[in-house]
């Protein structure tokens, strides 16, 4: 029971992290029609910049600022230099060009910081653990991630549903051509949306830093998971991204925690662990395949 509670919290925390990544990715797809494989690279850039600044200065606040600035700056630069030319292209071209960007950024990080993982540490005021539920000590840092993620989700909701810029973003997602026709400065809107997505990705990266190691290629794995999230949620829908992120976070965490144990009942421990790990890695893809077979456009399709 206590294990289940702890794993549910872990699932929630992974879900929050995935939402930070998925929100930007799904908006970029919904509004610009761009499949951006390099989104994981922005996550990596944010994590590296933050971990490096933290090592140099010891200040967590500076590290957060550096991570956000690096990811946002990189995102805006990449949008202006490369991605802007891809909006009208076929998905295939977008996939390839952004695949090239992944190669570039992975190597750039390897040259700048080396192939050894960087260690980012949990700041003092967020270390230790608390007992939220009696008998279940839970790390404060992970709780903080959940809270911050929920705050960002609420902020994003406010931004998108209650501000003028959010109105343009929503209009862009559902009636792209109409927004263009009404004379909105679409180039600026695109850059804003992309920059926002990049900052959120960088934020996810710098929050992950202290939990996992910061290393080259860290964005590749989570990128695929993030795509699973937005496809399940319905590409282009922020609400879908939220639901998809929670679903994927829970399914991934719970199968990883409990599947090997269940398999041990029917086979030797070593092969149960290996098979369990493999099956739980597959679980989210199976989830996605099922969702797409029932609803080919995802749970909350954005375009009418």
């Amino acid at each position: 029971m206590t294990l289940l509670a702890e794993q549910l919290l872990n699932g929630l925390q992974l879900g929050v992290m995935l939402f930070l990544l998925a929100a930007g990715l799904t908006l970029v797809f919904g509004i610009m029609g761009l499949i951006n494989l390099a989104h994981g690279s922005l996550y990596m850039v944010g994590a590296f910049a933050s971990a490096w600044v933290q090592q140099r200065t010891g200040s967590f606040a500076l590290a957060v600022l550096a991570g956000l600035a690096a990811a946002g700056g990189t995102g805006i630069a990449v949008e202006a230099l490369v991605l802007r030319r891809l909006y009208a292209r076929e998905h295939m071209d977008q996939v390839l060009a952004t695949f090239g960007l992944i190669m570039f950024f992975n190597e750039l990080m390897a040259i700048l910081f080396g192939r050894q993982p960087l260690m980012a540490s949990i700041p003092g005021f967020l270390s230790g653990s608390v007992e939220l539920i009696p008998g279940v000590p839970y790390p404060v840092f992970r709780l903080a991630i959940i809270l911050v993620g929920v705050a960002v989700a609420i902020g994003l909701y406010y931004l998108i549903s209650h501000t003028r810029i959010g109105m343009l973003v929503r209009a862009g997602a559902t009636h792209r051509d109409m927004v263009r026709a009404l004379g909105v400065d679409i180039v600026l809107l695109y850059t804003f949306v992309f920059g926002l997505g990049a900052v959120l990705a960088g934020f996810a990266g710098l929050l992950t830093g202290p939990l996992l190691s910061v290393q080259v290629g860290m964005g590749d794995r989570i990128l695929i998971t993030t795509f699973v999230v937005i496809v399940i949620g319905g590409v282009g829908s922020v609400r879908g991204a939220l639901v998809g992120a929670m679903l994927v976070g829970m399914v991934d965490t719970l199968t990883r925690a409990f599947l090997p144990g269940m398999l041990r009942g029917v086979m030797p421990a070593s092969s149960a662990d290996a098979l369990g790990a493999g099956l739980s890695s597959m679980a989210i893809f199976i989830l996605m395949a099922i969702v797409l077979l029932v609803r080919p456009r995802g749970l909350f399709p954005a375009h009418g």
């Binding site: 499949i35 295939m92 071209d93 996939v95 390839l96 060009a97 590749d220 699973v228 080919p296």
Partner: protein, 323 residues
């Protein structure tokens, strides 16, 4: 007319070069050229099969490596069981004869593609890209978790599959086998895309509604194309396992799918022969850049971005003009 002559010239020169590669390798005393050549021929088969989907059918499959790796694992697993005289799943004995193993590899991949394609083709656009990716990732994690067959570390075996009249350790002979398979595969593909089936497939890319209106069943045609293309990847994977005498989950990873797509587009999508040039350029660039710096991808990435942005017809378009 002039274009046709240019096509023939580029094609002829490429094949002459490939044909004389072993002699060239000896003359330059660079024996590793031969391995590179075999690698190019093998990747060219996989890339050409992917080109049928990307360039002709307009289906952006992002899971081609899944079939490439599956074909390799058929070879690896059968060799594994042949080595210790055990049975696969308790019924299938191990095999090492190429004339049995390679068709089995093709058949297994085709069957897997039939099932995966039947499900994936119910979606389209970005969802299709993600469905194919998802299934390839499932296969990847399946082989990672199979500890019997090496799991993460992959599966090595001692001998290449036996071919009649060819010594298993003769690298030059194996190179010519790869080249011959490539040539046969390209001729078959050429016939396929110019057949009625190929025309229907290209028609579906251009306007699905019109094709449906004249009585074509899009789903079945696309499924057939997906199965054929994936079987091609399975064949390439079987050859690749033979070349390296090793298979690993890396050959099914999504970055491998990305690499194959890079070869198709670098060479020029929708030209089949472009796949050969694309594979040669990719393998060649990789080995040249890797000699120059271990960070070869820092140059490869921008080259790829520029190819997509500027040279849309790829190398084949550059050399041979419009198709």
């Amino acid at each position: 007319m002039a274009d046709n002559r240019r096509h023939a010239a580029v094609l002829g020169l490429t094949f002459l070069l490939l044909l004389l590669l072993p002699q060239l390798a000896t003359a330059l005393s660079k024996p590793d050229l031969l391995t590179l050549g075999s690698q190019i021929a093998i990747y060219a088969i996989a890339a050409a099969s992917l080109d049928l989907l990307i360039g002709y059918a307009g289906m952006s499959s992002f899971g081609h490596a899944g079939f490439f790796g599956l074909g390799g694992y058929v070879v690896g697993i059968l060799a594994f069981h042949a080595a210790d005289n055990s049975l696969f799943l308790g019924i299938v004995p191990g095999l090492t004869d190429a004339w049995l193993v390679w068709p089995i590899a093709i058949a297994v991949t085709a069957l897997a593609a039939l099932a995966i394609g039947a499900l994936s083709l119910r979606t389209s656009g970005v969802s299709f890209i993600m469905m194919t990716l998802a299934f390839a990732e499932m296969l990847y994690f399946l082989f990672v978790s199979l500890k019997t067959y090496g799991g993460d570390d992959g599966l090595g075996f001692r001998r290449r599959n036996a071919l009649p009249w060819i010594a298993p350790r003769d690298d030059v002979a194996f190179y010519y086998v790869c080249l011959a398979v490539l040539a046969i595969f390209l001729i078959a593909m050429r016939h396929l895309v110019q057949s009625r089936f190929g025309m229907v497939l290209q028609g579906l890319r251009q306007n699905e509604r019109r094709m449906a209106a004249i009585g074509v069943a899009p789903y079945r045609v696309r499924l057939a194309a997906f199965t054929i293309a994936s079987a091609g990847a399975g064949l390439a994977g079987a050859l690749n396992a033979n070349l390296l005498r090793y298979v690993s989950p890396d050959s099914l990873h999504w970055t491998m799918s990305g690499d194959l797509m890079v070869m198709v587009v670098l060479g020029g999508a929708g030209s089949l022969y472009g796949a050969v040039l694309g594979a040669a350029a990719f393998v060649g660039l990789q080995s040249v850049l890797a000699q120059w710096t271990e960070h070869w991808m820092i140059a490869m990435g921008p080259i790829l971005v520029c190819t997509v942005l500027v040279a849309r017809r790829g190398i084949w378009g550059l050399l041979a003009g419009r198709r």
